[in-house]
């Protein structure tokens, strides 16, 4: 089980980006972390995976525990070796390497692995990748790249997969496909998934529990089905007004006063 207790993160020792975030990912669960841009979702993931260090950020208070031992302050490599693998936002493929080389590097940390079997597993989830195995990954389409980065993470046999904005900029059909695979992977490999999304609709549909972040703090949490009914969620994340219709940009109001949470 992954557990964040009141985690506070500062960048460059000054800028407070997370102010007391607590959340939990139980073994085998799929959990969503929602929120608007700049709410601190990605920072939360990076705090877990340890990638924060590379950006001069650090956990200044609170603790991150995984299976009972603290992992905050560890190097990202150590954390990854414990089975927490982050799939970063923006489909970060190793562009000049081909698909298979990308996947091989994904399995780099697994000792004595049966590389062929692992590759076959990934190709089973993403049959398309198999046909593209010798293509240079930088030239793949957005959807294919998203599959590649997820497949690359699968190669490491993660216990927890941290997925950052997998749906960003993808066509709805591909988003559905990817979310299906996440659900299947979770069910078959018993991998827990913590998924960060702005596409709240998709995320709420496949997760059992969700957290909503704002200004570096969790402001709302609960079972996903219940959150989907929450007025604020509807308004700000599902883009629905009270009549259930989609809000267009033109209707955005130039009000000075901000939304409030109660």
């Amino acid at each position: 089980m992954l557990k964040l207790n009141n985690v506070e993160v500062k960048y460059v020792g000054v800028i407070l980006v997370l102010r007391g975030v607590s959340l939990e990912v139980r073994d085998g669960a799929i959990v969503a972390l929602l929120g608007s841009n700049g709410a601190g979702k990605t920072t939360t993931l990076k705090a877990i995976s340890g990638l924060l260090h590379t950006e001069l950020g650090e956990v200044t208070a609170g603790s991150i525990e995984y299976d009972g031992s603290r992992i905050d302050g560890m190097d990202p490599e150590q954390i990854a070796k414990r089975g927490i693998i982050q799939v970063m936002e923006g489909r970060q493929v190793l562009g000049h390497l081909n698909v298979e080389e990308n996947l091989l590097l994904g399995g780099y940390i697994v000792k004595n692995s049966d590389i062929k079997k692992d590759l076959d597993m990934v190709y089973d989830y993403f049959p398309k990748l198999k046909s593209l195995r010798h293509s240079t990954s930088g030239y793949l389409s957005g959807g294919e790249q998203q599959m590649l980065v997820m497949g690359r993470a699968m190669m490491a046999h993660p216990k927890i997969m941290l997925l950052d904005e997998p749906s960003l900029g993808l066509a709805p059909l591909i988003v559905d496909e990817i979310f299906d695979i996440v659900t299947r992977f979770n069910a078959e490999e018993k991998t827990s998934v913590l998924i960060v999304e702005q596409n709240a609709r998709a995320a709420l549909s496949i997760t059992e529990y969700s957290y909503v972040m704002e200004n570096g703090r969790v402001v709302l949490d609960g079972p996903s089905s219940k959150l989907a009914d929450n007025e604020d969620i509807k308004e700000f994340y599902l883009g629905l007004s009270k009549l259930g219709e989609k809000k267009s940009y033109r209707q955005v109001k130039h009000y000075k006063r901000r939304k409030r949470w109660l």
Partner: protein, 290 residues
């Protein structure tokens, strides 16, 4: 014609050495986007270390090499640890600047311990001559050529087909991605610097054997930079070919224009290449125009 043949042969010999040093330069650029201006000074220091074992302590040639190479690897690692590692997260400008300052320190160390005068000449390879048509080649430079080519082949094979080599190529694409997969970028960067140190040192030994061990070696070492650039900053194979090309140019220009013209000419070529083919001849097309 005879003169030309001699020049070409000499150019290729030297060029192989430049290529070898350039591989080290490329390796560092590839893995961390840092233009390592201290490459020539690493060559100088590496050569001096070898001189100390061979010329100073009068050890056996192979023993000297055996002792020098770990030292060279260590030199690379130390440089990375002490100067580059603390700068992780800082802008690229700082990292490149630090290599410039490093060249001051390395030159300083060289003159602090070995003085500013040229050291006693030592030969590494058996003396001899080989006749190729009308061109006479010294065995010395042939050995150097051969050694350089072999080492380059080994390195290129290493990048292509080994796990470590693959991860070095991965690191070149993005540090964060590699870390997210649990691969220690720091370790790989360290190894890259170690290899660059070894490559530079081998170059220093080979050049020192023909030109003598002296502070001016660092200047010759600076030729690795145009070599790497012309080949394409990200390609080890390109570095080899770039090295040979620079060797030829240097040799021809020195022969026909004047001895001092070799290095400037190489840089003129570099600028011309930059103007027309900014990613060199084998580089990945990543260098963008503004």
């Amino acid at each position: 014609m005879e003169f030309f043949g001699k020049i070409v042969a000499a150019g290729l010999m030297n060029g192989a050495v430049y290529g070898l040093v350039a591989i080290g330069f490329v390796l560092i650029y590839k893995s961390s986007s840092v233009l390592n201006f201290s490459q020539g000074y690493m060559l100088l220091l590496g050569g001096y270390i070898f001189w100390s074992f061979r010329g100073g302590l009068r050890l056996d040639l192979f023993l000297s090499l055996l002792l020098t190479l770990p030292c060279a690897f260590l030199m690379g690692i130390l440089i990375e640890r002490i100067t580059l590692r603390p700068l992780i997260g800082q802008p690229l400008l700082s990292m490149i600047t630090v290599t410039i300052f490093l060249s001051l320190v390395l030159e300083g160390v060289a003159s602090l311990f070995w003085g500013t005068y040229p050291l006693e000449q030592i030969t590494i390879f058996p003396k001899g001559a080989l006749k190729l048509g009308k061109t006479v080649l010294t065995t010395e430079s042939l050995f150097a050529f051969g050694l350089a080519i072999v080492v380059m082949m080994v390195l290129i094979f290493f990048f292509r087909y080994t796990r470590l080599g693959l991860s070095m190529r991965g690191v070149a694409e993005g540090h964060e991605i590699m870390q997210s997969m649990g691969i220690s970028v720091k370790r790989i960067l360290t190894i890259c610097w170690g290899i660059a140190g070894v490559a530079a040192t081998l170059g220093g030994i080979l050049l020192g054997g023909t030109l003598g061990f002296q502070l001016g070696l660092s200047h010759i070492g600076l030729l690795a930079i145009p070599a790497a650039f012309i080949g394409g900053l990200e390609s080890p194979e390109g570095a080899v070919l770039g090295g040979l090309l620079i060797g030829l140019i240097e040799s021809i220009v020195s022969g026909y224009v004047g001895k001092a013209a070799g290095v400037p000419a190489s840089y003129i070529v570099l600028i011309v290449v930059m103007l027309f083919r900014p990613y060199g001849f084998f580089g990945l097309e990543r260098i963008e125009r503004v």
